[in-house]
């Protein structure tokens, strides 16, 4: 038996002419926190629904712990889902919601309520069992949905943008809790999100989706420092993607390259072996810890410079409209493929 919790082999899901998922292959290790990241309509949620069994693939094969799952209905699969809008049963108490998975298996009421209590405790909602979902806040509903999905002790937990409806503070808190929960339970999390920060901070590995295809599967660090395609460089973090004539002049190659804004500095003259280019400063944005400077260079491309505030002498910094020179180390450049996106 393979050690992969989930394997997708050349999986496609077409709706008429629309290819929601187009030949996706990926392998998710047992116990891994795996994220599927992409903009809306990139196929990540459809992929999750294929694993859950709500959709069936048009072609390809889906293995769950080495067993072919394509064709199996959701209730025959050893995976559980946390839904984006929680999907709690409004006519049941919180306790009955959590105990639902055991109820349909025919577990006796006393036993399943005891286990549901324990699951509620796991998500820090002990004592909330008698309430109705409608009486809970968004964050609490989120936790109930989590407890309900964990009651069947699935080996794979699927999470469909579970934090999307929460406000920023709560979202950050839940990110930490989800990650520590996953570590404690040791089960596989497959996490769908369009928030690259969320994906980077929580995941062991991330698959970046675009237009129904996977652009890159990698660790968060590699994804950020070694993006393979133009799309990944632009979607994960902020990147200066340099293309065309300018790219050729700077690197001697037609291939586009990316350089992160924090690796770009203002320079007074062409210095040493650093790559530099001249342009006009068109915009300055204050971001608290950092400031962003947008410099329009030849070919109408805009390069972003990110500087820590307080690091440089305020007075020496260029002003909007000035002509400036920006420079970066050659090793900060990452050559990209055009990719699908």
């Amino acid at each position: 038996m393979s050690s992969f919790a989930v394997e997708l082999k050349h999986v496609s899901r077409h709706y008429g002419a629309v290819k929601a998922v187009d030949g996706v292959s990926l392998s998710i290790q047992d116990g891994e926190f795996f994220s599927m990241l992409g903009p809306s309509g990139s196929g990540k949620t459809t992929c999750l629904r294929l694993i859950a069994g709500f959709e069936q693939p048009t072609s390809g094969s889906i293995l769950l712990h080495g067993q072919e799952a394509a064709g199996l209905p959701p209730y025959e699969r050893d995976v559980n889902t946390v839904f984006q809008d929680y999907a709690l049963f409004p006519h049941m108490s919180v306790l009955d919601n959590v105990a639902y998975g055991l109820m349909v298996k025919g577990v006796a009421k006393a036993t399943r309520h005891k286990e549901a209590e324990a699951a509620l405790e796991l998500v820090a909602l002990a004592g909330f069992g008698s309430r109705r979902p409608g009486q809970l806040s968004g964050g609490q509903r989120q936790r109930v949905a989590l407890a309900r999905a964990l009651i069947n002790k699935p080996r794979v937990l699927l999470l469909d943008e579970p934090l999307g409806a929460l406000d920023l503070k709560l979202r950050e808190q839940m990110q930490t809790e989800l990650k520590s929960l996953q570590r404690r339970l040791g089960i596989t999390f497959v996490y769908v999100t369009h928030d690259q920060g969320e994906a980077l901070s929580m995941s062991d590995r991330v698959a970046v989706f675009s237009q129904g295809r996977i652009e890159q599967v990698d660790s968060p660090r590699n994804l950020y420092t070694r993006p393979k395609t133009v799309f990944v460089a632009g979607f994960v973090g902020t990147a200066n993607v340099v293309k065309g004539e300018l790219a050729r002049r700077l690197t001697g190659s037609e291939r586009p390259f990316s350089v992160r804004p924090e690796h770009v500095r203002f320079a007074t003259s062409a210095e040493g072996n650093r790559v530099s280019v001249e342009g006009q400063l068109v915009e300055v944005q204050y971001h608290g810890a950092t400031s962003r400077y947008e410099v329009r260079v030849e070919g109408n491309q805009v390069l972003t410079v990110s500087l820590l505030n307080g690091e440089a002498d305020e007075a020496s910094l260029p002003r909007r409209g000035e002509t400036v020179r920006v420079a970066w180390a050659p090793e900060a450049m990452v050559q990209l493929e055009q990719g699908g996106g």
Partner: protein, 319 residues
């Protein structure tokens, strides 16, 4: 702050002054006045015409009817309600109730799958087709439909012809020989009456159920399946409880419409009055309005009990 040239914004358009605008502004600020204006006509209607007449009915059911002079005097008495318990009247109530109950159950059983299909599966022209198919019979005159059913159900009618062609005539005759169900022919049997009632009231069951199922978010059923519920289980534990208020709403229609009907019992089925016929006779032919009123109170009380029981069973928990 330095602004870019050519970026001057045009002055915002000033709203035109006028009476309508002034009135609108006053109503916008004074919510109570607004609600008062909005609700006075319907409340007058409900209060005076609707509930008032019902109340007057209730009061008149306690008036005294003099059999000898055929006159009504406003002397309060329980006599009319005591008369309901007479064997003959009692029979009428039970007969009507049994029919209303059977029609309601049959409508729910037949209506639910149709409503389910309309709400969950039908899209585009199919959905439109089903709406029209369900509503179309309601566009035709009720009397015409009832009369045409007498033809359909009569000996030599299309149903007899079909049953005969299928070689099922003995089965039909066996069914018609059952006590309580049958009669000498389909059009003079309780079975025939039941068919006609179910036909005319079915749309009133389908539409509320359809609306209730439509309000159940699809992902609840996915969540149930995801947690291991087989389709029958998710139907029983999620869809049915959430759609049940719709079934109750529909059953109030089919139940009370059958309870109050007096035309179909005249045209189809065996002899024997329904509550509606009795009201009609008492009020129209005899002029015994108090007795007619007390008969009318019966369905009101029964529906009241029904709703209380439904509430106790948790039918409205999902609302």
């Amino acid at each position: 702050m330095d602004t870019l040239p050519g970026m001057a914004l045009p002055a915002p358009a000033r709203p035109r002054a006028g009476l309508a605008r002034t009135v609108a502004n006053v109503l916008y600020r004074r919510r109570t006045l607004y609600l008062l204006l909005l609700l006075t006509p319907p409340l007058l209607w409900f209060g005076v015409v609707y509930l008032g007449s019902l109340l007057s009915l209730l009061v008149q059911s306690f008036y005294t009817f003099d059999d000898f002079t055929m006159g009504v005097t406003p002397e309060l008495t329980w006599a009319n309600y005591q008369a309901l318990l007479d064997a003959a009247n009692h029979d009428i109530i039970l007969r009507t109730l049994a029919m209303a109950g059977s029609v309601t159950v049959a409508s729910a059983v037949l209506g639910f799958p149709v409503a389910y299909y309309m709400a969950r599966y039908a899209t585009g022209w199919r959905k439109g087709f089903f709406y029209i198919a369900v509503m179309l019979p309601m566009w035709a005159s009720y009397i015409v439909k009832a009369y045409s059913w007498t033809v359909i159900l009569s000996k030599g009618g299309i149903i007899y012809w079909m049953v005969e062609r299928l070689g099922l005539l003995p089965a039909l005759e066996w069914a018609l020989a059952l006590p309580g169900v049958g009669g000498s022919s389909l059009s003079t049997s309780n079975l025939g009456r039941f068919l006609v009632f179910t036909y005319v009231w079915l749309p009133f069951m389908i539409l509320p159920i359809q609306a209730a199922i439509e309000r159940v978010p699809g992902n609840l059923l996915q969540a149930a399946a995801d947690l291991g519920a087989r389709p029958a289980q998710s139907f029983r534990t999620v869809l049915l409880p959430l759609a049940f208020p719709g079934v109750v709403a529909g059953s109030i229609f089919t139940f009370s419409l059958t309870l109050g009907d007096y035309i179909i019992p005249q045209l189809v089925g065996p002899p024997g009055l329904f509550i509606g016929n009795m009201v009609y006779t008492m009020q129209g032919s005899i002029g015994n309005i108090p007795m007619a009123a007390s008969f009318t109170v019966v369905p009101i009380v029964i529906i009241g009990i029904y709703l209380t029981v439904a509430r106790r069973l948790g039918a409205f928990d999902a609302l």
